[in-house]
Symmetry: C2
Subunit: 527 residues, 2 copies
């Protein structure tokens, strides 16, 4: 049942006076539920309880944390159609997408469950004593990863499940042993509450300490600000805009005790189509990219916002087909009127830029909150000179950058900021002779793609979802895949520590039977 309340650990709470509603962009009206915004007292309560829970939660075994995570997945599934209905009502996204994202969210939870159940993720490292060493004896030292403490998670507007309440940030933080306080996304607070209830049910069923998870509603920036500035908060996960992410990063860096913020802030995902590919398969790629640009109404952080190519006859046919294909696609609904107006505004700003020409612009009337797809073109020279052309237009918008030669193309890539992805479209091995171009692209991105589209982020250990700033605030970490857990843990060493007091991961018996680096050798052996 959607109550609109906050959850301070397992307890619903509505101490504040402010409230807000969510909006159905398809029906173009407010949803029926009212949400109570968390007040200062509730924020304080949530973090105090999280800190208290941390003392116990950090000591839980991998097996019990795995059970907790798997039970969250079960409970989300058990929500059934109510969850799907709330998701659709709050996002305008189709049911198929809702179900797909639910599956992905459950898959993420289960993959972290497997990770902590197996246990080697703590990177146990052991160097045994050499008492007879000269000139000084060597002491026994053992190291493993331990959780940082309470993590505050800010959900994304565009992934109400997979990057929100029980999304990758929450799943990886809980797996690490960190309690989580979610600042629920105001555009899908009902979806958020349902998922929060699933997490709380799972926490109760698996005997997790009260406070291991809290969910706070907020439609403004105050709650988030207080959460990040609270001394008991030890790390922050965020998915969203550059402005939002940077603001949180700055707050966290300015604290008396600075804390890490991993903010994944989107990008324009440059795609480079090499000449032979443009010549021989230009039409196919144009069709593929018309789909990728409009997928999910262009509301993906991996949306291909920039297509680079050399300016020749083949580019003309490519742009012609791309424009035609794009206009054939029925416009679709954006997540919220604010997202749609933001898209229209960003696009309008873009269209005013010097040297920009419009190739295709969906003109016909649409339903309210539907996005009209647009593709534009600019020269490499203009692109290099004008950083405003490098900005993200969140929605079904893409820019073709037509370069006079490879040198200009390299300079154009060099002029860009960090990106989540970079794609090369190549035919007949022409990529082999573009090593400078490829390494320039590589220096800018977290993930390189060959002959494909950037949309679609596979959840697997080899996925890097992050990248040089501003794609993320720390390129050394990923938001997707098992290594996302590394954001929330720190190494701790035990020197000459009594064996019976060592964590299981480090004891002589290797109770957990995990892989450990013992005197420089990876092994499961006991000592």
């Amino acid at each position: 049942m959607i109550t609109g309340k906050n959850y301070i650990g397992n307890s619903p709470s509505n101490l504040g006076t402010k409230s807000f509603t969510t909006f159905s962009p398809i029906e173009n009206k407010e949803n029926e539920w009212t949400f109570f915004e968390a007040n200062e007292k509730e924020i304080e309560n949530a973090l105090k309880l999280a800190d208290k829970a941390f003392k116990e939660f950090q000591k839980t075994s991998g097996t019990s944390r795995a059970l907790f995570l798997n039970t969250i997945a079960d409970e989300i599934e058990a929500l059934g159609d109510i969850l799907i209905a709330a998701y659709c009502a709050e996002t305008g996204l189709p049911e198929g997408r809702a179900k797909g994202e639910r599956g992905r969210t459950m898959g993420q939870l289960r993959s972290f469950a497997n990770l902590v159940q197996e246990g080697s993720w703590v990177k146990a490292t052991i160097d045994t004593a050499i008492p007879e060493r000269q000139p000084l004896p060597k002491v026994d030292i053992r190291k493993m990863m331990a959780p940082l403490g309470p993590v505050v998670v800010f959900g994304a507007s565009n992934f109400p499940l997979a990057y929100s309440t029980a999304g990758g940030d929450t799943a990886s933080a809980l797996a690490a042993g960190c309690p989580v306080v979610v600042k629920s996304h105001p555009m899908h607070a009902a979806t958020g509450e349902l998922v929060a209830q699933a997490i709380i049910n799972a926490a109760k069923k698996t005997n997790m300490p009260d406070g291991v998870f809290s969910n706070l509603n907020s439609s403004g920036i105050e709650v988030g600000k207080q959460l990040v500035n609270h001394p008991l908060t030890k790390a922050v996960g965020f998915t969203g805009s550059i402005n939002g992410g940077r603001a949180l990063f700055d707050m966290a860096a300015n604290r008396k005790e600075p804390i890490p913020v991993f903010a994944e802030m989107g990008s324009v995902n440059p795609v480079i189509i090499l000449p032979k590919a443009l010549h021989s398969k230009g039409e196919d790629w144009a069709k593929t990219y018309a789909g990728s640009i409009t997928l999910g109404t262009g509301q993906f952080c991996t949306n291909p916002g920039l297509l680079f190519a050399l300016n020749d006859e083949n580019l003309k046919s490519f742009t012609k087909v791309l424009s035609e294909e794009l206009l054939k696609i029925d416009p679709s609904c954006m997540l919220h009127p604010a997202i749609e107006s933001n898209y229209s505004r960003n696009k309008a700003v873009m269209l005013k830029q010097d040297g920009l020409s419009v190739l295709a612009n969906f003109e016909a009337a649409t339903k309210p909150n539907f996005a009209k797809q647009t593709v534009v073109k600019v020269s490499g020279e203009k692109f290099i000179k004008n950083p405003d052309l490098h900005q993200e237009v969140f929605g079904p918008f893409s820019m073709i950058v037509s370069c006079k030669d490879e040198e200009e193309l390299i300079k154009a890539i060099e002029s860009m900021e960090g990106q989540l992805t970079g794609t090369i479209i190549s035919e007949d091995g022409e990529i082999d002779s573009s090593s400078v171009l490829v390494s320039t692209l590589q220096s800018k991105v977290g993930r390189l793609i060959f002959n494909g589209v950037p949309t679609g982020v596979e959840v697997c250990p080899s996925m890097q979802h992050g990248g040089p700033y501003p794609a993320s605030t720390d390129s050394r970490f990923t938001a997707v895949g098992i290594h996302a857990i590394d954001r929330w843990v720190r190494p701790i060493s035990f020197q000459n520590w009594p064996n019976h007091l060592l964590p299981d991961a480090l004891n002589n018996e290797n109770t957990l039977q995990i892989e450990r680096l013992v005197n420089g050798k990876l092994t499961k052996e006991v000592l």
Copy 2:
């Protein structure tokens, strides 16, 4: 030969007009050499050259980087007595310490050489394609660690070799494939120049690109500021004071593109002596700690600055022996008059604090720049109330905190900021009944020590040298041991990438024969 010049890559340079000298604290006079402070142009040149070198250096094989690192160690050794003499003249530290630190520095270089020679450190992670997967085919994705780019290293005053020019930060950054620009420490600029020459000789002998290493002199803060703010700088390593480290961290966080700063900023390293240990071995521990407090004139970031115990008769005998033993020790020379006056000033501030009593204070006249050791006592109650008592007094100074019961002791530990180390002295298993105390201490530190002293940082994979703020600016990394390389690298994924263009670490053939996580299984197999 000590020229006093900067090194922009392999080329000596003295474009600026400012100069400075170093000081021999033992002889209490300026050393003969004059150093030319780097000017803006030289900073610009060094970073441009580093950026250019990066394009080539990042592609060098582990084998050639290993050769480079081992050759640096050889070249440092080949400097022979000149290096030891410069070290002693610029620090007042004895020859034995100089030689020990040289050995440690070479050992660090060789351990990173072994790491990159072997190659598995890149954490190669491969998920192969499943074209037939429903509803969507799975693409081939492969991930590995890649270097961030030019790293700026700030050396420490108290470790002119092991934490400076070719110290752990430089060794780990070069191992990762990052060019290094060192901001030489002004107190030991001659030692720094000699080591810089060794690195440059090694770079030439092993055909590394010019600019892989630069060394810049500076006696003020301007050079460091410009280095951290330069857009081509991609990360910063620092060892030193909280004020200095935090200033760099703030600058880096406020850049348009924020960059990671790992600053290891010292700590007061609490030691808890449990009652039975105090009773049965108090005298032994008092003698051991008199040595640890004064080791290296107390100028270690792991110096035990706080000794906690319960207030009973045994504490009285312990403090008596500690005081006597401490006063028996001959005062020794500090690194620089500025360090000595800083020590005297910090100590004077401390001695004025309410409720503090002096147990032992070396009174006799000493040579100039020698430090007079001091041990003081305060109640747990006063300690908890007054954070000024928690501050580091860099030198042979320690404070006994006498607590009325374990509850107060736990509160005292809880009141502290983050620390590099925390030590428990225990007898007859009494630690077993102090689990809250131990976990409180654990939450504050990077390394726990049982029945030992915090001084002495073993260089091995299991060492954590870092800790919660302000021990370091990011508790998720270490400054010592092979995992120090993680500070300078980021994951990059290759999706559907042609096998012949993949880095060796990721190709089907497993050319490097390294351990890789392939479809979730750690293996050296080829694909």
